[in-house]
Amino acid sequence: MSTRAILVTGGGGVGKTTISAALAVRGAQLGLRTLVVTVDPAKRLADALGVDSLGSEPTPNERLDGLWAAMLDAASSWNAIIHRHAPPDVAERLEHNEFWEAVAGRFPASQAYAAAEEMANFLDSRVWDLIVVDTPPSAGGIGFFTAPGDMRDLVGGRLLKWLTGARLPGRKSFFSVAGRPALRIAGNVLGTDLLERVAEFLFDLRTTYDGLAKRAKEIERHFRQSTILVVTTADPAPLREAGRFFRELPETATTPAAVLFNRMLPVEWQDKAAELEADGGTRERALERNLFRWAAEAHRQSDARKAFVDRYHAPVAALAWQPDAPIDIDALAHLIRSASNIDFDQILQQ
């Protein structure tokens, strides 16, 4: 029996981690052996899930049978990737290379790719029925799906080919700036030594290509079989990110099964405010003013959601704004069960 993946994506600060946890809790309650893979949970949520250290192995939850949680440390999984795909001595050298940290820590796709490879490993282990992935927010979430291709390009030697000429030499000793007159001009500005050091680094990085390219393909196949859920709030910035999954969906991803509008206010507040306004007023002025301003907020949210639905015809669900973020098992399960419009039990059990 194979493992299903639900990939939870969206911009920063929209509550993706909490919703991933809630989906996983509900999955476990429905009898599915469920693993939630998360990146950077708030401390109390991490405690509730029973993960307390970065890079931890999947840990079973003490309060809920069938629920496991794992927390990714992008930096260490990235090192694991190098050791998996490069010969041991080269991997060692790469880890201590002066350019290494820049590529591993900053190349935006590398963190997302590290998470994706980790996800694929969990899927391939077939230990779980369901894996919920709280995806890294790179490029508003889209970056997670383009990461395998971006990484293939990085280590694939396109850059290296330019430095070394059309034919890629088999050994790095073939390369020297002095031996390539065309590079001397660039060398004059940057120092030939720097170009040679970069070339050497790229040679080492290239040894990972065969392994990485193969794995990247497998990851992309996993992506195409996964269910994507987009989380947003009714605010302009996250909505713009959510819209990208409909405007510029990468060919490695499937159309999102649902868009979850998080932190939504009750629509009744708008009706009550309208009613009060028509009546003239009550004794409690401050309380009334408070309802009016929150009703205006609720109104703005409804408008933003309607505009999104009209534009993208996406199935959307609303989750109530809970001032105290739900963290314990029951509150998390309640959060996802109380979603309007979409039955997530069905999506979990597909």
Partner: protein, 284 residues
Amino acid sequence: MFEEGLVIVSGKGGVGKSAVTAAIAQHAAARGQRVLAIATNDAGGLAAHLGQNALGYVPDEIMPGLFATGVDLPSALTEYLHLQLKVPTPGFGMVARAFDVLVSAAPGMREIITIGKVAHEVGRDVWDLVVVDAPATGQLGSYLRAPETVSDLVPAGRVRDQSAWMESILAADSTRILLVSLLEELPVRETLEAARDIGSNHRVGTHLILANRVLPRLGISATRIANLGPGPIRHAAEHHQALYAAQQQWLTALSPRESLPYLFGILTPAEVAARLADELAVAT
């Protein structure tokens, strides 16, 4: 407070960095300053808050005294090579491609090109205020460190001289880093970490923290709310009270120098920025 010099606005994703950047720019322009607003990565957010569809690379005057530009890497690279490194036209393509390689692989290269653009605009001496919608706090350190990183990497020559000059611009008294935060756990944690990192590892003029979307006090006791009958009035009061209490707790931990209020019911990004600009006018 934010009317001249260089202001670099950063913060965790989703805290309203672009809105605050646009508000600072509009506020200063309204007071007669000549202002340049720069978007450094995705220009879409800043553009929307300034009421534009997109921002071009050449600064455009979008309101009287307010100019805006979006820095895209290829244009910035070309400009950096032409203006700052003075690479001559013959051989330009070769140097540009070498830089393409370095931008992908070498630490600090991508960042130095963006900072180079900012420093170039500051150095032109035509702006009273340059305000930058900077990368999120997660990447801020590698940007601030970039001139130094590149100096270490490139032994001598023009690249190194330019880096030293950029360092001096970042370290100037008139340079301020503004860390925008919300009064919530993760943004507060990330903001405090960034502030500590800047304080101990970087030479920048000054840095300060701004709390965004701060709720007003409700001014009604919990007992009185508890005695209300069930319904939207009570529900909205409880909602406000609970959010306010949580915010106050994080306010103590964050102790921001400035704060901007939560805006209720405002739909468009341009309206948000305009309202925040008004708030800045009240604060000063």
